[in-house]
Amino acid sequence: MNYRMIIRLLGTILRIVAVLMLPALLISVFQGESRAVYGFAITLGVIAVLSVLCLFAKPKRNTMYAREGYAVVGVAWILLSILGALPFYFSGAIPSFIDCLFETASGFTTTGASILTDVEAMPMGLLFWRSFTHWLGGMGVLVFMLAITPMAAGSGESLHIMRAESPGPQVSKLVPRTLKTAQILYTIYIGMTVLQIILMLLGGMPVFDSVITAFGTAGTGGFGIKADSMAGYSPYLQWVVAIFMALFGVNFAVYYLLLIKEVKKALFNEELRFYLGLMLLSATVIFLNIMPMFPGNAGDAIRHAFFQISSIMTTTGFATTDFNAWPEASRAILVMLMLVGASAGSTGGGIKCARILILLKSLRLQIRKMLHPNVVHLVRMDGETVEPETVNNALAFLVAYCAIAIGSILIVSFDGFSFETNLTSVFACLNNIGPGLGLVGPMGSYAGLSNLSKLVLTLDMLIGRLEIFPILILCVPSVWKRARA
């Protein structure tokens, strides 16, 4: 393990985070929120001290392998959650540190689960920071680092970092250089965010609201600044948000292919078709199911159905209505979609459509193999063979995923809430959605849970965002031992 290299990279990340905190600080200064300014100032001081300490690590070798890549991503995200929580804590806006940690992890991992009971009372600077973490966490803080700081030229180490942070079973580059790949991803990301802000401003949304909402949508996070999430906005704004949530749940490689005018290749993408197909199908079923609730107003029913599906499937977690009060079948569909999640290579969470597709295909093959023991067959995606290793990795992912979910549900159960609450709170955190059902439904909050449950759920959010392995690997002792020849 190349510790010094990891520490040096962490130092770079700290400096980047410090710079990224400045807009929120400025907003607090202009709004005259003295407590928030104080909170940010202390945090920046802490970051400055830490990053100076990191400068003392002078790596002997610049080489990084897969395990350093995983480790640096895992440690960086835990560190980010802790440091990002400091402004909330020092400003006194959220008194309990565990709550601050939960809120920040929920931000960076684009979960959007909140322990706040009165959002509208928070200082604007802190609200901005809370939503900005969504935007950063969506595409990835380390990918952002890769986009702006050239790593040692001509080495593949940056690929390991990108693989560890980007979601999906098969992460590959768009162009030969990791630096340029990261830049392209962020350019598309920024472009779409700006477009959404403009469309919402045209719909008459206040500037601050639209920026915050766009951050929540782009990162597929779901923090709002209104107690009723999106319910208070006009149908036009709800449609804009619903469509953009769906767009941010698509693999960004598709947008790149569209940009370089490879339309056929982009639309041939099997995952994209699965993702959109599943979304439209579920929206239709829910629409039919909730029709009776909106007598004579099919338009509202369609909008609510599509908005909630888009919000849950992309793991955003905005709401236009209290879907907790919906019929049982619709709620079941929503819980199912929580697990599926968005596309690989998007900003969304969940198991990912690509993985579900691979698992389903491999299941079909296994069944065929039972019927015809000698059959030779391979899993294919987009006309190309999926390596058996990738399939195995998806299976291992699923096993680890189930184990973590079951363990977390057990721990949360000790708080004594209903099974529905326990199950969906874990699903909502592990899949980075935010609201679940029952007590933690769209109009509720996580404030009532015990500290232990909050910690477990915080960890679940990190595990879910980084797709299990970067965090799981940190728990393996041999990773931290010196390599023996």
Partner: protein, 461 residues
């Protein structure tokens, strides 16, 4: 630049690594997944699995929009097809590795039709380099510049020899000819020395000298001067054939050893004037029987590095005057050198340098581009030859008043065929060929890159 490399073997990988370090965007195509994975993980490049000669794969790799396509798969024919396809798709520059002597000889005939910008033949380049080393066995390495008028040669500094403890400013007094030490290798370190540098025993120095003065240089340095009259080549590879041809042409006796009887028969047919011996080159008794003690030089060219090293060590042990070793795995070079194996040739590095020179010249169409490029000391140092153009800065300004970048030396200036080992009072004029020695991490593309800053207006006047 966008470059597509087809074939991720020894040469392909070395090339990809070097080109990627120079800042190019590389896509590597190979039909084997495992080698591609290694490249993807260790280098910042993109990989594509498939047959590089197929139009579909090349379209997917967007070869048509790339600046350069390099085909270095193991099969010549495949490389040629790759180039033809790439040319058809619109790629303007194509380089192919052609190593079968039967094709290589008459390539100039077909170059246009096949759409080739350049062909490389690692084996024949390696043979040529070995041949040049055998011409002047006192040097461990020889690199030619300015159409062969100037050379940079590597000389070991003997313990307690004439150079041990010598300060470079006093060099002229000792050797009595105008030469310049442009790089010094000491242990793991490399220095681009200035006048105050003091040599030590065990150093390897790289000396720039006019080719005509090489004999005088050998005499003045009191190195053992042997004239090679007979050479023993162990291993009957392609390089052996090229090398034997050159040696026989120069009237040097050649003894070829191979342990494969069919190979021996084939060699015998191709090289009627050489004596071919069927023996196991790795067996001491058979080497002795073949006469290793009587020969002036041993060149080990088997396909197995370990065997080459063992035979070379034995030859050193038997005090053969000159031993040249071919090594494919260059990463171990530093370790071999401690064991006395200091004259090493690696075909893949030679090819790689040739292509690097082509790529740098491609990037510089107007200015003073790279004419020759050689890399020394495990590719840590490079010597570049530029042709000064009218656009070159500081023309006519004495060298001592030009702001040059650090760790850099102007080793030689050739003007109208006359070689000049430069002093501070000399200057560069348009049309000069200028040899610059520097560390390899900079990848200069134009002569102007060597200056620390652009000239002020008054400096130009």
């Amino acid at each position: 630049m966008k470059i597509v490399v087809i074939g991720d073997g020894k040469v392909g990988y070395t090339l990809t690594e070097a080109l990627s370090k120079e800042g190019h965007d590389i896509l590597v195509i190979d039909n084997q997944k495992d080698v591609l994975e290694r490249s993807e993980e260790l280098l910042d490049v993109m990989v594509l699995n498939g047959n590089g000669a197929s139009v579909d794969v090349q379209r997917q790799a967007d070869v048509g929009a790339s600046d350069l396509m390099i085909a270095v798969t193991s099969a010549d024919e495949l490389n040629l097809i790759c180039c033809m396809v790439a040319r058809k798709l619109g790629c303007r520059h194509t380089i192919a590795r052609i190593r079968n002597p039967e094709y290589a000889q008459h390539l100039s005939l077909l170059r246009e039709e096949l759409g080739l910008s350049m062909t490389v033949n690692p084996e024949s380049s390696a043979a040529w380099e070995i041949f040049r080393l055998l011409q002047y066995p006192s040097f461990l390495k020889r690199d030619a510049f300015a159409k062969g008028r100037v050379e940079i040669v590597e000389i070991p500094v003997a313990q307690d020899g004439r150079f041990d403890g010598l300060q470079l400013t006093d060099l002229y007094k000792t050797v009595k000819i105008r030469v310049l030490v442009c790089a010094v290798e000491r242990g793991d370190e490399v220095f681009i020395p200035d006048g105050s540098f003091v040599l030590r025993g065990g150093d390897k120095i790289y000396v720039t000298a006019p080719t005509q003065d090489l004999v005088a240089l050998i005499k003045s340095t009191s190195l053992d001067q042997v004239k090679i009259r007979s050479v023993m080549i162990v291993g009957g590879s392609r390089i052996s054939v090229y090398l034997a041809d050159m040696l026989l042409e120069a009237g040097i006796k050649v003894k070829l050893i191979d342990n494969d009887i069919e190979k021996c028969t084939e060699l015998c047919q191709r090289l009627p004037r050489a004596s071919v011996i069927h023996a196991d080159g790795a067996s001491i008794s058979e080497l002795n029987q073949a006469g290793i003690t009587e020969t002036d030089a041993v060149v080990t060219l088997t396909n197995i590095d370990e065997e080459n090293l063992l035979i070379s060590m034995y030859a050193n042990h038997m005090h053969v005057p000159k031993v040249v070793t071919k090594v494919n795995r260059t990463e171990y070079n530093e370790i071999f050198r401690d064991k006395g194996i200091d004259c090493v040739v690696s075909p893949k590095l030679i090819t790689c340098t040739d292509i690097l020179r082509y790529v740098r010249a491609m990037q510089n169409r107007q200015g003073a581009g790279v004419i020759t490029l050689h890399r020394m000391v495990d590719s840590k140092v490079e010597a570049l030859e530029f042709r000064a153009a009218a656009s070159t800065w500081y023309l006519g300004v004495p060298l001592m008043s030009i702001p040059l970048k650090k760790n850099l030396l102007i080793a030689c200036i050739t003007r109208n065929g006359k070689v000049l080992i430069p002093r501070g009072s000399d200057c560069i004029t348009a049309g000069d060929s200028v040899v610059v020695v520097t560390t390899s991490d900079r990848s200069f593309r134009d002569l102007n890159d060597i200056f620390d800053e652009a000239p002020h207006f008054d400096a130009q006047v």
